[in-house]
């Protein structure tokens, strides 16, 4: 006879605390060209024939698999993807990995409406947070990962609005931003505007895989944190593949 005071059936079912992560990805035309990447200088890809968009696709696939393989992150991470290449698209609204059996892939085309994309990402985030509150689901501070290889050339008013919104959220500790530049043509100044507390990171070559691997591990660490624990995002560990 079970001698425990209580059994598993006596316990309540609480939803897992969520880590909302939004990937805001540049899929503009320049991501299909390998000309910005001089493999010999930067390491990473050289002579393999793959383009930045190919590497980005591989990196996102690796990120999804890393989350799937982690028992805690699998139930807590909620991933949304917004792309900006010619137009802005919500490729995937916030959902956990179980509800995303097919990993999205991207093709490169068009201009770089970065401001519009970040605004859409922030709108989705606010909507998701409200859903969490309505359903009594706990959540951690959301993450916005912004990756670009160029300069924004969408609406300047949308860009300003996106920057102002992001900066306010970061300064009030309601959002963590990871601005990532890839290639020599990325506008580091604009990226820096999105992130008052964290300098933009520049990928060496096309080291998306290493970045997304690190991202998956960081999400896992966050989802296991307990009240009072500072979540230290280990920037040092990504210096090997990025330049600060």
């Amino acid at each position: 006879m079970n001698e425990n005071l209580l059994r598993l059936e006596d316990l309540v079912n609480n939803p897992t605390a969520r880590v909302p992560v939004c990937l805001c990805l540049d899929t503009s035309g320049s991501m299909s060209s390998g000309s910005s990447f001089l493999g010999g200088l930067f390491g990473g890809n050289s002579g393999s024939g793959s383009t930045p968009i190919d590497e980005l696709n591989e990196g996102v696939k690796l990120f999804y698999n890393a989350i799937r393989d982690d028992e805690t992150a699998m139930y807590s991470a909620e991933i949304a993807i917004v792309t900006f290449g010619g137009y802005v698209k919500l490729v995937q609204d916030f959902a956990n990995i179980e509800r995303q059996p097919n990993i999205p892939t991207f093709t490169a085309i068009g201009d770089t409406p970065m401001g519009e994309a970040v605004n859409l990402a922030l709108d989705c985030l606010e909507k998701r947070k409200q859903e969490y509150k309505d359903k009594g689901v706990d959540y951690f501070q959301p993450w916005l990962v912004l990756i670009t290889d160029g300069a924004p050339n969408g609406s300047s008013s949308e860009l300003d609005r996106a920057i102002n919104r992001t900066v306010e959220l970061v300064n009030t500790k309601k959002l963590s931003v990871f601005p990532i530049a890839c290639g020599n043509d990325a506008d580091m100044n604009v990226l820096a505007k999105f992130s008052p507390k964290r300098s933009p990171l520049k990928l060496k070559g096309m080291n998306f895989k290493e970045f997304f691997e690190w991202l998956g591990q960081s999400v896992s660490k966050t989802s296991q944190s307990m009240p009072g624990e500072s979540i230290i995002i280990d920037i040092e560990s990504i210096k090997g593949w990025a330049e600060l």
Binding site: M1, L6, Q224
Partner: protein, 336 residues
């Protein structure tokens, strides 16, 4: 009349990292005041296990010593200040002892104190304080997590005074209080509906019936093997209950409740007889008796009687002092 029990267990996460358990609990009966207290040390604070221990040890004594003055003071802000000042005093002394910073001792605080028909409740941070009012489970104070899951207020935070919840009142129909850290809350408090698990009534019931030491072991086992399934965090719990209303004495419980308490399987034979035997033993032991006396009463050889008595002692329904057995609260000397 009030029965108290408390315990804490190290979480799976802390076992892996070899971090001491940062949850601490305390039960105290002093000068007519019953107190249960719980503190959950901050994960990032270097000495938070010492901080949590310092908080529960000292604030329990402070509230017990000053219950009347605190209760009769109509100015809640003054009472909060008094509690905060006491917390600061003892934590600063602990800082000096450990040569550490104040924030290194960060912890939450949950406390319930009852004297006669009055109660005081104080709460800083996360975790839950609930109570059984008549037949209804209610929440006295819910977790304070701010917007994000891993954020809360600690006794060392600047906002501690502002965020402290302080309640007082008359006991009336209240028969039990339960306090739990956020680790335990994950299993026994439903966050979307802000309700306690019904199973907490069973825990309060057992608190009224089972000896403190045995119940404490049972609670530790429960936290370790059942509650910890749902969390990596340390888990702790403290209960204060009295036989009143829904929390009945053994003789007022149903057949199935007694069978469950006596750990008699539903699948066995002669259920009625087996439960009846234990009913007889318990009824006979309202005053302490020897094995020989009990054996004669239930008409069973001593060696078989001893087996049943040992089981009831291990469950916590009986206690054994020397050669005498009795129910957990003996009141008179044994018969000659």
């Amino acid at each position: 009349m009030w029965r108290l029990v408390c315990c804490e267990v190290q979480g799976r996460g802390h076992i892996k990292t070899d971090t001491p358990c940062q949850d601490k609990t305390k039960q105290l009966f002093k000068d007519g005041v019953n107190v249960i207290a719980l503190a959950d040390g901050a994960g990032s604070a270097k000495h938070s296990h010492f901080g949590a221990e310092c908080v529960v040890e000292n604030i329990s004594i402070y509230v017990a010593d000053n219950f009347k003055q605190l209760f009769e003071n109509a100015n809640g802000k003054q009472v909060k200040l008094a509690i905060m000042n006491e917390l600061k005093r003892v934590l600063i002394a602990k800082c000096d002892e450990l040569d550490c910073k104040y924030v290194d001792l960060a912890s939450t605080l949950l406390l319930v104190a009852v004297c006669e028909d009055k109660y005081i409740i104080a709460h800083i941070g996360d975790g839950v304080i609930g109570y059984l009012d008549g037949s209804e489970l209610k929440i006295a104070s819910s977790p304070d997590n701010g917007e994000f899951a891993n954020i809360t207020t600690f006794v060392t935070s600047n906002e501690a005074l502002i965020s402290m919840r302080l309640l007082k009142g008359n006991i009336k129909e209240i028969s039990g209080f339960i306090i739990m850290s956020d680790g335990t809350e994950q299993s026994l408090y439903h966050k979307p509906t802000k309700k306690l698990a019904n199973a907490t009534v069973k825990l309060m019931q057992r608190t009224c019936l089972i000896s403190g030491d045995v119940l404490r072991s049972q609670l530790i086992e429960m936290l370790t093997s059942v509650i910890s399934v749902n969390t990596q965090d340390d888990c702790s719990i403290a209960i204060m209950a009295r036989p009143f209303g829904v929390l009945r004495n053994l003789e007022d419980m149903s057949f199935d409740e007694r069978r469950d308490l006596f750990r008699i399987s539903n699948n066995g034979t002669k259920l009625k007889r087996r439960v009846g035997r234990y009913d007889n033993i318990v009824a006979f032991l309202k005053t302490p008796k020897t094995l020989k006396q009990i054996s004669a009463e239930i008409q069973l050889k001593p060696k078989y009687t001893k087996k049943h008595l040992n089981k009831l002692v291990s469950i916590g329904i009986l206690v054994k002092h020397g050669m005498l057995y009795s129910i957990t609260q003996p009141s008179t000397k044994p018969d000659a």
